[in-house]
Structures are given as C-alpha cells and as structure tokens.
C-alpha cells in the first residue's frame, strides 16, 4: 500500500523536525499579526527583523509571523514595502504575542523613509521565480481602457506570455493556459476572463495581494504544471466604514467595507458592472432591443476573530458574462467560488489553517425558439477540503505540512436539439473524479549563507463512476482519429482509472555577499485535469476533462538557476534566471477535431512531449520618486507529437523568442504622477500554407513541407502612458478622489494578433482564377484613450 507508506513517511519527517532545536531551552517566541494601521488589513510578506541577531521572519498569507529567539532585550523592526517601518524595544523573557500596525507611506511625504535590513529579502530568501505585485503597483500601470487589470499587469513580468491581445489567460514559461493554478482565496478559478479575454475577473478594489509562482514551487501547491497564480482578497477595513469606487470606460465599481465588530470582525463587498449595453441602447434598432451584453462580478468577504487563537473567514465570488442577440441567441458564462477558512494557533509557533471551498465554472448557449432550437449547458464543479500547518521551529527552521482532497464533477454537456418540433437529447454523461495531495515542506538555514527549502508532495487521482468507460481502437491512419472499440458502464463510485505521483521540490540559496546570492531549484509537478482547446485562444466554450483510462496525467519537471544582486542600498534589484522544463503527456488534437458534445472525445486527443527553456532578466527600482522595472525574456516553448510536423519538435502557438517590457512610474508632486509601459514581443508562430490544392473549384491551402507553426507573425510593440491627478483635499474631510487619464497604444501601431489566409471575398466566377491572400489581423487597430474617476470616503 503506497498510501500508507507515504503517510508514514510524512509522519516520520514531521517527528524528526519537531525533535529538533525547537526544544532548546532559553528560547522564546515572538509572534503576532502585522497590519495596515488605517484599515486593520493584514499584510502578507511583511517582515520582522532583529538587527542584533541578524535574523528575522516574514508574515504568511494571513499576516501571521512567528520568530523564536534566545531570551534577551532587542530592538525589533517591523516593515513592509510602501509602509513606514516601526521599531519596538522588547524585553523577551517569555513567549510574547505582539500585533503591530504599520502606517502607509502617505503620498504627502516627499522624503522616502530610510531603508531597513529586510529589504534585501529577495537576496536572502530561498524563494525564486516568484513575482509579487501589490495592488498599489498594479494600479499605477497604464491600463487598457483605464481598467486596472491584474492579469494584464502580470503579462508585463518576465516569463509570462500570451497568444495575443484579447486572448484568455496567460502562459508561464512555455506552459499552456490550463497549466496555471489560478486561486482566488484558495478556490480555483477556471476561466479568469471577462469578454473573452479583454478583462480579468478579479475586481482590483477587492484584491489585496497577487503572487505568481513560476518555479521552485513549494509542496503546498500541486495540480498544475506551470505556475500558481495566488490572488488574496482584502479582509475589509476593521477600523472604520468606507466606500470607494470609480467610473471607468467599461466598468463602474463600488466597494463597501467596514467593521462589523470593531477590531474583531469586518466585511468587504465589491461589485463591478460593465455598461456598454446601457450606452448603446439608444442606438439599437427595434429588433435588437432584446439584446444584452454585459458582464459583472461581485466579491464578498467577511472575517471574525473569535479570540487570539482562532479566526474565521468566509469569502465568495460571483461573476458572469451575458450576451444576447435579439431574443433567440443567448450566451453566458461565469465563475462562482466560495471559501470558508479557519485560522487556528495551536501555540505561538504552530499555525494552522483549514479551508473548505466550492468552485464552479459554467456556461450556457442557446439558439432559436420553439420548434427549432438548441440549448446547451456545461460546467466544472469542485468541492475541496484542505489543511495546512506551519511550525516555526526556530528562525532557521520552519516546517509546513498538510493535505487536500478534491471532488470533481465534470458536466460536459446537458444539451437538447429541437428540429421541426422533434426533440433530441444530445447530453453527455457527467464525469467524476477525486484528487488528493499530502505534503511536507521545510525551510532551513544552514549557517549564515545557505538556505534550503525542500519538500515532497504525494498526489493521487481517481477517475470514478458512474459513467461510460470507452476503449478505443488504434487509429486507421497514424495520428488520426481513434474509433470506439467498446463501451462499458461503471457504477457509482467505482474506480475506472487511478494515478499517483511523488512530486519532490527543492530550492536552495547561497548568499555570495550581503547584496548578492545564487539560487537553484527543482520541482516535479503532476496535473490530472486538462482544458480541451485547440483554437488560437481558449474560448469560454472549452471543456475541462479529467485524466481517464485514455488520457494520462501531465507531468512537468523544471530546473532553475538564478543570480540575484541588489545595488545602492537595495534601491535596485537585479536578477537573472535560466530555466529548463520537461513536460510529458501534453494534449494535442487530431486534424479537424470535434471537441464539443462528443462522447468519443478521448478519440480526438493526442498526447506528446513538451520542452521549454529560457533566460529571464529583470531590473527593478523599488524606491524613490521614479520607480519601475525592465524585464527581458528570451525563450523557447516546443512540443513533439507523433505524426505531427514530420515527427520533429515544433514551437507552440504562444512561443515568443524575445519579450521586453519596461514599466516606469514617476511621482512628480502631491498632485500628479505619470506612468508608462512599453512592450516589444516577437511574433508568435502560426502555420502558413505554401501551396494550393484545386479541388471541386475550391482552393484548399496546403503546406508542402508538412510543418506546423512554421511562420512567425510580425513583431508586436506598444507604448501606453497614463497620468494620475489627485483631487483637491478639502480641509476637515477625509474624502480622496483621483482621475486617471490614459492612452493605450500611443503611437497607434496596428499590432498583429494573427496572419490568416483566405480566398477573395467576392464570389468567384466559375472557371475564373481565384485570388488568395494573406491577411494580418489586429484586435486593437487604433489608439485607445480613456479616462477614469476613482473615489474613496
């Protein structure tokens, strides 16, 4: 029994750790929460530092820290980017709990506060390949149509790419969009886009912290190959009631937050709605009057502090895109998630969190009325229970462990077609699966220079009944469609196929000097669910499917090496990282694949290998009136699929050789600040026909080299700028408001999304030659100015 041995192993490792230096006498623990002074919002990744010991700790996702040090009298500093540091003199003779409030750096302050030691955390920490953006930074980046968007913001970071403007999701280090685990307060979000891909589903007003983990992924996380995109919502101001909001070109936003019980319980409720439809209404003719096109999202979170050791959180998200043309054609999709969490402190050093979540992504599509119609609904639903424990053994050693179970309900199609009044049910059976993961992860410092992080995750997946089990024949032509050999019925709960994987994770950092370090990491990841999509950009109609007896889980291994250097008293951060990835069982599709409402879907799928490698350079200026970053990535992302591309490696549709981003922000004075960003990106590859086949009067494009993605669309480059104007401050009033003026695509470059091939759009005359052409298509073919107004009181 492999399960038993793994559990035993975890227990063993845990036991070892707890017997370590933790028991040493003469040590005391300082622990507590670090918060924003104004709102009481906990701060993620804030630092505690004891200068005389040259040791420290940082807060976890819940703002909690724990530091074990010898008894004594210390000056302890608490700090966080964008906040004033607080220094406290403490006499520590016994374990102590200390919650600290940090005041935010006011825009009114011209002087920048003196830096403290822990600003070099990027050098000392073992963490690498991690991008953190706080919402204040994201808000400064010039946004498309003035709408602050966290997914568009992370696309400016090294190693993050996309098929093109307007495409759903993002690609990390050469992985597919379904290989990112997108978490909103721990619940996975299966489609992160509004309006196909132009806007993300996260309301920036409700977001506290965004973290993208591209490599060296700790064992806490599993289930996706490429990255973890962890979005944490605000808890809501626990000191006073406030209303904030804004009016932009696309959305209107309104956020309410405040205490329920002061310093004990708070809530936040944030909503957005697009209003293009309202604006367009007067211009629509009568037959379009029934038309709808809007999207909205609602985010709610509340928390309650039961006592010093127990805190509860409940959060929920509900978002929807709704399109309707006339009264007959309807199309809508959306995510909903709900998360319940309980933070429990067993003691000053053992922090735990228990989570239960529900996540649902569904869409509905309908055409026609009465006698001739088609209605289709599809969804992926999951329920999960999860626990995480962190044990702060001593400042040099922290161990975490935990487990998770997920139940999946895949609903590929509930569909009915009505033709001339006759009803045909074309629904597909639901598919069910269970996923489990157990992990142990430790962080350890060995001496002053070497830090280690090592862990192991064991993951298990079971594709269960009830449902039909398909067996397929070998394809008639190599690489072709597989026909059904047999269908058997599996009973409820019966195991159809199971998989398990050991996923070792390792990272180490070696400090070369006080301002530079060398880091390396390795991780193995397993992914058991797959997004079935073979269009250029994923569509809201794409269906998630489990690993089955015909689809193997995807496996990914990644190796990363990096060098980190800070300059001028940590004002500048420089880094270079190189990575190599090996991917197994990547999905591909037979030509002309029929992927929707197809019971024999598995017969349309191929699986192949993938590899991705690249070098990412990043230079960041974090402090001062002028801040920002420049990142450059050179990379390759390839696939190898039997019988495709002459059995040779080919680049993926989102492969980008060069990717350069410059993001700059300048605070001129109390009233004005300016931002700009520039992107220069190699064209992505596409398949180009070389020849024409004349057939039955048609011109069929044909590639005589039998190559895939053999041509690159032209280079993409774009400059955006914005200016933020703070409104007048009225004496005695705390109202704040500001205007953001932005211009997207300043020099009006018609950036290509794709190059496609078509024959003349005028009807060809029989027997006459048919003109064929290559067409460059731009999603955004103009300069896009916008204006937005934001307020808070």
């Amino acid at each position: 029994m492999r399960v038993k041995s793994v559990v035993f192993f975890l227990g063993f490792v845990l036991g070892m750790c707890l017997n370590g230096r933790a028991q040493e006498k003469g040590f005391v623990t300082l622990s507590g929460y670090i918060k924003d002074k104004a709102s009481g919002e906990t701060l993620i990744g804030a630092t505690v530092y004891v200068d005389s010991l040259k040791t420290g700790a940082s807060t976890n996702f819940y703002g909690f820290y724990s530091l074990s040090i010898p008894k004594g009298v210390y000056e302890v500093s608490f700090s966080y980017v964008g906040y004033e540091s607080v220094k406290v003199e403490l006499e520590l003779n016994e374990n102590k709990t200390l919650d600290v409030d940090l005041p935010a750096l006011s825009q009114l302050l011209d002087e920048v506060v003196v830096s403290d030691e822990e600003e070099d955390i990027n050098i000392k920490s073992v963490e690498m390949s991690v991008e953190k953006l706080d919402i204040k930074t994201i808000e400064k980046i010039p946004a498309f149509l003035g709408e602050v968007d966290i997914i568009r913001a992370i696309q400016l970071l090294p190693g993050v790419s996309t098929v093109g403007e307007g495409a759903t999701g993002f690609n990390v280090r050469g992985g597919g969009i379904d290989q990112n685990l997108v978490l909103l307060d721990e619940a996975p979000v299966y489609n992160s886009s509004h309006l196909f891909g132009f806007f993300s589903v996260f309301n920036p007003d409700a977001v506290k912290d965004v973290k993208l983990v591209k490599g060296g992924i700790p064992a806490q996380y599993g289930g996706r190959l490429s990255s973890i995109f962890d979005v944490r919502m605000k808890e809501g101001n626990e000191r006073k009631f406030s209303v904030s909001g804004g009016v932009g070109t696309i959305f209107s936003r309104l956020t309410l937050e405040g205490p329920i019980v002061k310093d004990k319980a708070s809530f936040i409720l944030a909503g957005r709605r697009s209003y293009v439809d309202i604006l367009a209404k007067p211009f629509l003719s009568d037959d379009f009057k029934d038309s709808k096109f809007f999207f909205y999202d609602l985010t709610l979170k509340t928390n309650y502090k039961l006592n010093k050791n127990n805190r509860l959180f409940a959060s929920g998200y509900f978002g929807r895109d709704q399109f309707q043309f006339g009264s007959e054609t309807k199309f809508g999709w959306g995510n909903s998630t709900a998360t319940l969490r309980w933070n429990h402190l067993f003691n000053d050093r053992l922090f735990s969190n228990f989570t239960a979540y529900y996540s649902n992504y569904d869409y509905k599509l309908g055409f026609g009325e009465d006698l001739d119609k088609f209605d289709w609904e599809s969804a992926i639903v999951n329920y999960s229970l999860k626990s995480d424990f962190s044990y702060f053994v001593n400042p040099d050693f922290e161990i975490s462990f935990g487990g998770q179970g997920i139940f999946y309900d895949f609903k590929p199609a509930k569909a009915v077609a009505v033709s001339a009044g006759e009803v045909t049910n074309i629904s597909l059976d639901n598919k069910y699966a269970i996923e489990a993961g157990f992990f142990v992860q430790s962080e350890q410092k060995i001496g002053q220079k070497l830090s280690l992080s090592y862990g192991l995750r064991w993951s298990y997946f079971n594709y269960i009944g009830s449902g039909k089990v398909y067996e397929f024949n070998e394809p008639e032509t190599p690489g072709g469609r597989k026909s059904i050999q047999s269908i058997t019925q599996a009973s409820r709960g019966e195991s159809i196929e199971s998989y398990n994987n050991l996923e070792p994770r390792l990272a180490l950092a070696y400090q070369l000097s006080s301002s530079s370090s060398l880091k390396a990491s390795f991780n193995r990841m397993a992914q058991y669910i797959h997004l079935v999509s073979n269009t250029a950009a994923a569509t809201p109609l794409d269906v998630w499917t489990p690993s089955t007896n015909n689809i193997d889980p995807q496996i990914g291994m990644q190796y990363v090496l990096g060098f980190f250097k800070n300059l001028s008293d940590n004002t500048y951060e420089l880094s270079i990282e190189g990575y190599y990835k090996d991917l197994e069982n990547q999905l591909d599709y037979v030509n002309g694949a029929d992927l929707l409402i197809n019971p024999a879907l598995e017969g349309e799928l191929l699986q192949g290998k993938g590899r991705a490698y690249g070098v990412e350079l990043m230079a960041k200026k974090k402090k001062g009136k002028f801040s920002g970053w420049t990142s450059y990535t050179i990379s390759r992302s390839e696939r190898l699929v039997e019988n495709v591309n002459q059995d040779e490696w080919f680049p993926t549709r989102f492969d980008q050789t060069h990717n350069l981003s410059v993001v700059a922000n300048y605070d001129l004075n109390k009233k004005w600040s300016f931002s700009a960003n520039f992107a220069l990106i190699s064209g992505t590859p596409t398949t180009l026909p070389t020849d024409r086949i004349e057939f039955q009067g048609y011109i069929i494009p044909h590639n005589s080299n039998y190559r895939r993605n053999n041509y690159r669309i032209p280079t993409y480059h774009r400059l955006d700028i914005s200016a933020t104007m703070q409104g007048k401050r009225k004496a005695n009033r705390k109202n704040q408001d500001y205007w953001v003026f932005s211009i997207y695509n300043v020099y009006n470059n018609k950036n290509p999304f794709s190059v496609f091939f078509q024959q003349q759009e005028i009807r060809p005359l029989n027997g006459e030659p048919i003109d064929t052409q290559a067409v460059k298509f731009s999603i955004i073919g103009s300069i896009v100015p916008s204006i937005a107004y934001n307020f808070k009181f």
């Binding site: 149509l145 070109t249 604006l279 269009t535 003349q760």
Partner: protein, 315 residues
C-alpha cells in the same frame, strides 16, 4: 451629473476600438509538387470527370498545372471475380488533365451500396483509393418566405431545404446549392449534414435537417471592395431559381469536407481568436510505392444524388 456626462462622452467615442485587417505579402517556401486527385463521382447519367493537377504556389492565382498522360480507371468490386467486374475507363480530354467517362443509355451507373476502387498510373507512380456509396435522404421540398428586416438581415426572400434523414445512424450528406444555375461555390457555403445534424458524434438520427443546415441554402454575401451582392441584399428575389443536390458521402469524405471548411473558411475579425489551427487536410489517395511518383493529395468519393428545385414566386 456633469462627471458622468464627461466619462460617457469619452466612452461613446472610444469604446468602439477598431479591430482591423490589412492585406500583407508573405514569403512562401514551397517544396516539391504533389499530385492533386479531384475525383468526385456521382450516380447520374452524365459525363463523370476526374481532374488530376499538381499543387502550385498558394498565392499564384493562375490555374494549377495539369497532370496529363495518366491512366485512370474505376473498378466496381461487386463481383469477386475480376473478369466480371465492371471497369469504368476515364479518357483524358486532350492535355487538360481532365479524365472523362461518358455513360450511354445502356451503361451501368454507379450504384448505392457498392464499393469502388480508383486506380491511377501517372508517370512512375501508381495510386489507388476506395469509396463506398451511401443512400440518399428523403427530400421533401424547398420552402421559401418573405421576411421583414430582422437582426441586421435585410428584407427579402429566404429559403429552407426541407429534407429528412432516414432512420439508422451513419448517413452523411453534402448539400450543394445552385442559384439561377450557378453553383454556390464559397467555402462558407459548403453545407454538410450527418444524420440530420452537424456531427457523427451524439444522438442525432432520423431528424429533419436541423435549422442551420436548412437555412444554409441561402447564399453567403460578398464583402470587401467592389462587393455588390453584399449583406444589404437578401439572398433571393422574385424570379430566382434554386436547385439543390444532396450528395451522399462517406464518413471519410464528411471528415475531409469538414477539414477543408476549417482551412478555407476564414472570416477574420474577432473570430480569429477562436480559429482552429491550419493543418493539411487528410487524403484517401494511397501511393502504392512510397519511393515512386509524387505524394498524392485530394479525395475520391462516389455519391448518389437526390435533387429538388423551385423558382421564387409571389405568394
């Protein structure tokens, strides 16, 4: 609400950010020519043509070169004994690459339920292919009506093909429409049907052809510079004739035609986001010896045909 007015004003001006298309020139790197076999045969008593061509550069609008001097035959495999098998010999029309078999009153036509083998000898290569023949659907009529302007479609006459798939799974059709005697030859007008619906996968069977298939006998409008018969013009007007052929096709032919739609039907616009990948379409032409002759592309299919037609008159 002065503030809102300002912002709304901006929105109306700029929210309609323009997607745009631009014709460009790309370098194509073509390699060796391939043999194109265009062999779509019907059970009708009229000359049957098989066209042999060579592939040519995608952007070269002139006619592809003919593959001349080939020997082309189709063999009916109904009899087990070779000497009893009917052989249809296709004769080249001059040096056109068009190979023709013309039936007379007594000729045995291509027949439902039989399998046919195509054989081609061209230069040093030998090529073969196999096709079955399926049954025709129950064609009722063409229905047409005058519609008022609705959802951006202009007022005028719209037609529907009323036909029903016979019970029993596995019937595939290619519906070919002629307006005033001219074949509707745009990629967007290729109209396929499987068991009355779109796809062989699923529970459809014995259906009246579903609404989108019925409606696809209305022509696809022209677009771009010089377009006259564009989206402001209704598909049919009084006096227009409509003629529909329903070809029964094999499963492989259904897949093949679906693939060529994906490759040819590129509307552009935001649909490019969701375009399926370009890939070479499959062929059912086999080269006997991989080392001899050209790589074959194209398709062989024997179809039985049902037809119906009407003329649009005032009702």
């Amino acid at each position: 609400m002065h503030l809102l007015k300002v912002i709304f004003g901006f929105s109306v001006l700029f929210v309609v950010f323009s997607a745009c298309e631009e014709r460009i020139v790309v370098d194509t790197d073509t390699s060796e020519s391939e043999l194109v076999v265009d062999a779509w045969i019907t059970n009708e008593r009229r000359p049957q043509v098989i066209k042999l061509r060579l592939t040519s550069s995608y952007f070269d609008a002139s006619a592809s070169p003919a593959a001349t001097g080939a020997t082309v035959t189709i063999t009916d495999t109904f009899h087990n004994v070779d000497s009893l098998r009917i052989k249809y010999i296709f004769i080249e029309d001059g040096n056109s690459g068009d190979y023709i078999w013309t039936p007379d009153e007594n000729s045995q036509l291509f027949t439902v339920g039989r399998d046919y083998v195509l054989s081609i000898d061209y230069e040093v290569g030998t090529y073969t292919s196999l096709s079955g023949t399926g049954r025709v659907p129950l064609v009722d009529s063409i229905f047409y009506e005058y519609r008022e302007e609705s959802l951006g479609e202009p007022a005028g006459y719209y037609a529907q093909l009323i036909a029903r798939d016979p019970p029993g799974k596995g019937d595939a059709y290619w519906i070919r429409t002629y307006k005033n005697g001219k074949f509707l030859n745009k990629p967007q007008e290729i109209n396929l049907c499987y068991d009355g619906s779109f796809s062989p996968n699923g529970n459809a069977d014995g259906l009246y052809f579903i609404s989108p298939i019925r409606e696809r006998i209305n022509r696809f409008p022209d677009d771009g510079a010089g377009a006259v018969d564009d989206e402001n013009v209704a598909p049919y007007a009084l006096g227009d004739s409509i003629f529909v052929e329903i070809y029964t096709i094999t499963d492989d032919a259904f897949d093949f035609l679906n693939e060529i739609i994906i490759q040819m039907d590129r509307d552009g616009g935001v649909q490019e986001l969701f375009a399926q990948p370009i890939a070479n379409v499959a062929t059912n032409i086999h080269r006997e010896n991989e080392d001899q002759g050209l790589n074959p592309v194209g398709f062989f299919c024997v179809s039985t045909v049902a037809t119906t037609g009407t003329v649009i008159r005032e009702q």
